[in-house]
């Protein structure tokens, strides 16, 4: 149910993002989704890749500080109100969305949004009961 996200701490220095993408490219790792949370001095790069274990290893080897975090990849009906429906389910259960961002690919007729929600197991239960579909890691990485 859960998907592994790679988080990388980056100082706001020119070329730092390029260093990350170059390392991943050299190891033939495909970036499927990303978001950056930034402050004045640093940013956190969040990545969904096709092989998170390998990505974490090669980035760590290159001196980056990497953490793996469990997130949910949720199918969203690709029509007005699609996202609202999902968020309503979470809100009605008092679940807190730490952050979210869109996935590049599609799952059939659906868009995919990556969610970081606490507590995650309660979120999975609520989403399932609400009729939402959550992608597994192997499903997502294969898209």
């Amino acid at each position: 149910m859960k998907v592994n996200q790679i988080s990388v701490f980056l100082e706001n220095k020119s070329g730092r993002l390029a260093d990350v993408t170059r390392v991943l490219a050299d190891h033939r790792i495909n970036i499927r989704a990303l978001s950056i949370a930034d402050t004045i001095d640093y940013g956190l790069l969040r990545l969904i890749v096709n092989d998170p274990e390998q990505a974490a290893k090669v980035l760590t080897d290159q001196g980056f500080t990497v953490a793996q975090t469990e997130v949910l990849a949720i199918e969203i009906p690709d029509r007005p109100g699609g996202l609202a429906g999902i968020i309503d389910i979470l809100a009605s259960q008092g679940l807190n969305i730490e952050y979210m961002y869109a996935f590049v690919g599609r799952s059939g007729e659906h868009a995919i949004v990556i969610f970081r929600i606490e507590p995650v197991d309660k979120a999975i239960k609520a989403l399932k009961e609400g009729g939402a579909r959550i992608l597994t890691g192997s499903e997502l990485y294969a898209l």
């Binding site: 988080s7 701490f9 100082e11 949370a37 402050t39 500080t65 953490a67 730490e98 952050y99 970081r116």
Partner: protein, 435 residues
């Protein structure tokens, strides 16, 4: 104008005779009334009677900041507290502060040397002196204050801060001299510009600036922007406060009032006295102080001395603008900061690595800015920024409270701060204060 021509222009031979008399009395006083000095002299095998003239100064043992802290608070006083009319203390926040005391005569001496200082800066009895040095335990505010009153000038005891009010008072009262730190003078200039006040059109003519390191370039900038003559003044609370030395109209070094405080320059490693003109660590011995006499106090300030005659006519030797420190102390906005304080504070916070860089800059807004780069530990990294922000806030609050100084913390990637063998290069001082 020269405040006390007889003393300040006294021929050198007469001065040395006076110094010799006063040194004998000071050594006797220290030996008889301060156990810490008696112990030091006994250990060095020196009896007060061995010190006959100023040439014998070199036989006396040194005094350091540690000696003062070891005898905190009043252990170095050479008279009972009933004779002490005032105490002050250093701005330093490493452990215990250095406490100094003054008898009524000491306050008189201080007023005298401060009147000389203000006269060196151009002031006279008809001036209005706006004193923007902080009043309180810091010696700056009251030092200027008593000197100005001694001179018969009009003191405006506004103290530091509230810059808009400083500009308003400069304008409304027609202050003719400003006393503050050099960086604050530029803040006042910026604020005046923002308020649309042209300082060049005001009666302000002179400024005396000290308590933090600055450069000749900065002096010229202050002169141009405030439309004044700016004078570098020097002092330290361990010796008396401001009033130890002052530049004069010749702008070629600072005259040390050596009828009260005799300077030496030593090699900080061998502790040998260096000849005039050679750069080394400045050492002071007080000659007239009663409550807090001091023998060969190591200031850690690096400078050199000149005994050449000065164009102004004063016969006091001159020290060059302080070129640096022999320890790693930084003076930021008048506050003494030791890297070790930052290190020990960081060690106490979970999630930090003991690797840091201190960056001091003066580019923005003119006031010294302190930035501390801290490596984050990998455990703090997750997808969330909030954890890092909370951590950053915690480190900032901790360091601000330890140092007593506002600062900015910047989180940097783990293992990016250079680990060098031996003493790490932990300080980047961008203020360009080198000699």
């Amino acid at each position: 104008m020269i405040w006390n021509k007889e003393a300040e222009c006294q021929p050198r031979e007469e001065r040395e005779k006076l110094q010799s008399e006063r040194l004998r009395e000071t050594v006797r006083r220290c030996y008889e009334h301060v156990p810490a000095y008696r112990k030091k002299l006994d250990e060095a095998g020196i009896r007060p009677s061995d010190i006959r003239s100023i040439a014998d100064l070199k036989y006396l043992p040194f005094t350091t900041a540690e000696d003062l802290r070891d005898n905190y608070p009043f252990g170095m006083f050479a008279c009972p507290l009933s004779e002490v009319v005032r105490v002050h203390s250093s701005s330093g926040t490493t452990g215990k502060p250095k406490v100094v005391g003054y008898t009524r005569n000491d306050v008189e001496t201080w007023a005298e040397v401060m009147a000389r200082t203000l006269a060196c800066g151009g002031a006279g009895p008809h001036d209005i002196i706006q004193n923007a040095y902080g009043y309180g335990m810091f010696t700056g505010g009251l030092g200027i204050h008593y000197g100005a009153e001694r001179m018969g000038a009009t003191v405006v005891p506004i103290s530091g801060g509230n810059t808009k009010r400083q500009v308003m008072i400069l304008e409304d009262f027609g202050s003719t001299m400003l006393a503050c730190t050099p960086s604050y003078a530029l803040v006042i200039a910026d604020t005046a510009a923002e308020m649309g006040v042209d300082l060049h059109k005001l009666p302000l003519k002179y400024g005396v600036f000290g308590a933090e390191p600055w450069t000749d370039e900065m002096r010229r900038e202050i002169e141009a922007r405030l439309g004044i003559r700016a004078t570098d003044i020097y002092g330290l609370s361990e010796v008396i406060g401001p009033g130890v030395a002052s530049a004069c109209e010749a702008q070629n070094g600072l005259h040390i009032f050596d009828d009260h405080f005799v300077p030496e320059v030593i090699d900080p490693n061998t502790l040998e006295v260096l000849p005039p003109g050679t750069q080394g660590e400045l050492v002071f011995t007080s000659l007239t102080k009663e409550a807090f006499p001091i023998l060969r106090y190591r200031t850690r300030d690096i400078t050199r001395l000149s005994y050449e005659p000065c164009a102004c006519g004063r016969t006091h030797p001159r020290m060059q603008r302080v070129a640096g420190r022999t320890d790693d102390m930084l003076i930021i906005r008048g506050v003494n900061v030791f890297p070790s304080q930052i290190e020990s504070a960081l060690m106490g916070i979970e999630g930090t690595e003991p690797h840091y860089v201190i960056v001091v800059d003066r580019s923005q807004g003119r006031l010294d800015e302190l930035e501390v780069w801290v490596e984050v530990s990998p455990e703090l990294i997750s997808g969330e920024v909030r954890r890092l922000e909370l951590f950053e806030r915690k480190v900032t609050a901790e360091l601000t409270s330890v140092l007593g100084l506002s600062l900015k913390v910047r989180l940097v990637e783990p293992k990016t701060i250079a680990r060098s063998e031996g003493k790490a290069r932990r300080i980047i001082d961008r203020r360009e204060l080198g000699s």
